[in-house]
């Protein structure tokens, strides 16, 4: 029952995130504030309406207060203000100014919007047929963007390989921690105290079933990536499976360490979620590359097993990397395991205090 639950739950999350999470900023709601009302100002503003994938026009703004008010209530995210005499200045080549005010409350979105605005204007000025009667701009280079490993720049290619690393730490770690602490709480750990079972024997015996569960979960998630999301595995499936085996051993090990210093199931759930959620989602290369993290986040990120598995997973799925490139992930993951074993074996009490 619990097993079925874990599998269905992770499959469901994979579906939701695979389809639902996207970093593409599209259909930005904007309004114009045209104080000039000349043919030139209209031509300029029309360029934005001509990019419906990125911009969606809302009713024009009437005053500065109106603009601020609508920005505050989030009904628009961008105001394009054309100053008076824009058309005249443009004809006289007096370099008129256009003011673009973007909502910066969400920094990523704000930044992306400003870049869209800039690129619409750049494109317009370079176009000889832009009807603005300006000479086409000199001295600009064209950029040929080449998005490696994700040619169409779709979020699903980045998402599908990133979700298994997240689920394969959160679930095995917490189940493992609970299973040990549960024995402590119910008292059945007495079997371990009174028999000559070694510490490592006991812990490995507890760990094994959860490694198996983790591996089954992995096969389900990979099958979904292939079938539902049609994200191909470019690299070697065998290598990824090997990495997963090490990773799941390490993540159950994390749960094992936590179980040694918690004495109630409530505390185990609490401590495991608090400790694993943040580094897994924020510092493991899911949201941003670990190399661009700063300070303690970077330190945490570089010791967290998810970082290495995330790299291997993205690498095998999208890049099809060769041996020399994923070997590092494999070695690091393999090194983490004995450390976790040692820590938990030392911290596990053979006698009740």
């Amino acid at each position: 029952m619990r097993l079925a639950f874990a599998f269905i739950g992770s499959a469901l999350l994979m579906l939701v995130f695979g389809f639902g999470i996207s970093f593409d900023v599209e259909h930005v709601r904007y309004a114009t504030f045209d104080l000039d009302q000349t043919p030139e100002s209209r031509v300029y503003l029309e360029q934005f309406a001509g990019a419906p994938r990125y911009f969606r026009q809302m009713p024009p703004v009437r005053s500065v207060e109106d603009a601020l008010h609508r920005m505050q209530s989030d009904s628009i995210s961008l105001v394009l203000e054309i100053p008076p005499n824009f058309g005249r200045d443009l004809r006289k080549a007096a370099i008129p100014e256009v003011l673009a005010e973007a909502d910066g409350a969400d920094t990523f979105r704000g930044e992306t919007i400003t870049q869209y605005v800039q690129s619409v204007q750049d494109k317009m000025l370079r176009d000889p047929a832009n009807e603005l009667q300006t000479p086409p701009q000199k001295y600009t280079a064209n950029f040929q963007d080449r998005y490696m490993y994700n040619p169409t720049f779709e979020s699903v290619y980045a998402m599908a390989p990133s979700i298994p690393p997240i689920l394969l730490i959160l679930i095995p770690a917490i189940l493992m921690a609970i299973s040990v602490v549960r024995e402590k709480e119910l008292g059945s750990i007495i079997n371990f105290y009174v028999t000559p079972t070694g510490r490592l024997e006991y812990l490995l015996g507890k760990q094994l079933p959860y490694i198996v569960i983790g591996m089954i979960n992995y096969f389900i998630l990979v099958a979904m990536a292939l079938v539902v999301f049609a994200v191909p595995i470019k690299g070697s499936f065998l290598v990824l499976t090997l990495c997963t085996l090490l990773y799941v051993t390490a993540t159950t090990g994390v749960g094992m360490v936590i179980s040694t210093f918690t004495s109630s199931q409530v505390a185990a759930v609490f401590v495991t979620t608090v400790l694993t959620m943040l580094p897994t989602i924020q510092f493991s290369g899911f949201m941003q590359p670990v190399s661009t993290l700063l300070g303690r986040a970077k330190v945490l990120g570089s010791i967290w097993p998810t970082t290495y598995y995330m790299h291997a997973s993205k690498g095998v799925f999208t890049k099809g990397l060769g041996l020399d490139l994923w070997a590092q992930d494999l070695i690091v993951l393999a090194c983490i395991i004995p450390i976790l074993w040692a820590v938990s074996a030392l911290a596990l009490e053979k006698q009740e205090k």
């Binding site: 599209e26 800039q118 980045a158 679930i171 199931q265 959620m277």
Partner: protein, 374 residues
Amino acid sequence: MNSLLNILWLGLKELRSFSSDLVMAFFVVYSFSGAIYAQATGTSSEVNNASIAFVDEDGSALTKQLINAFYPPRFQTPELISASEVETTMDQGRFMFVVAIPPRFEADLRAGRHPDIQLNIDATAMQQASIGGGYIKNIVNDRISSFFRRTDASAQPPINLVIRRLFNPNGVSSWFTSVVAIINQVTLLTVVLTGAAVIREREHGTLEHLLVMPLNAFEIAMAKVWANSLVILVATGASLYLIVMKALEVPFAGSIPLWFSGVLLYLFFATALGIFLGTISRSMAQFALLIIFVNVMLQLLSGGSTPIDSQPVWMQYMTFFLPSRHFVSFSQKIIYRGGGIEAVWPQFTMVAAVGLAFFVYSLALFRKSIAVTK
């Protein structure tokens, strides 16, 4: 009146049992201090320390200037590589961006042509890839135009586009991430604390103790709501003041009492959700799995990690029922945009409505499960 007193005393009992668990208390403090600080200062959607390399097949004075235009902290000092190394170095993940400048680049520009620059982007890091790509284009075109302006005044664009970012003029991403971090911790801790309080009573059999006393399900549930809300509310307040406003110096544009009223509504929802999860799960392991699924969902789809507008439309209809989405939304409106009650009432209503629905439903469930125990 009597009922109110019962709720009060039961709540005090909750607080006492919480404060006797030192490990839990320690982790609550950590979640609202160290965890938030590390996330706000460590992660950013801005491009930071991005690795970049150039393939310079032109070798002119202009390309030298272009390469020098990239420097820390935003970019690592650029490296020069040859055209044949592009693929392998990017496969290794050594560079996020590789800019390839063709031969005769400067000469072509001087002749009024628009030569092509190839920009290779490692698109597995979506956020940084798109923003960083934009930066590189702007920096390169800026430099080119200032390079030629020395000899030719018409190099200036005919329209000067002034871009302003409202509510966060310098685009400091810790402003946003710190508040999102608080929101995530509030959700996580409240649900775990309340749900665990329900399960613990059941597993330890202390629920029976309560049931032989003249108390009803509503009083027991309500006591859990207020006691756990209080713990989180105090922690949130301290975190907002000490970490966000003092240590990270995030300005608070709107009204603080208004934001806290919103937090209260949200806590009502989160505690109700906790009771709900605690009641429906039969064991701690089930509860733990539910907590993980629900929390990952509430966190990643709230608009704090990726913009709501980027979700597909059908998903936006679904997430409309997630109170965490409205929490992020009204926090943005109040804290950064300085919006008043007239801007946030729809979000407040939605959070309260979902919270109430959960509370009523889980109360009924709770009552039923108690009746079974009886």
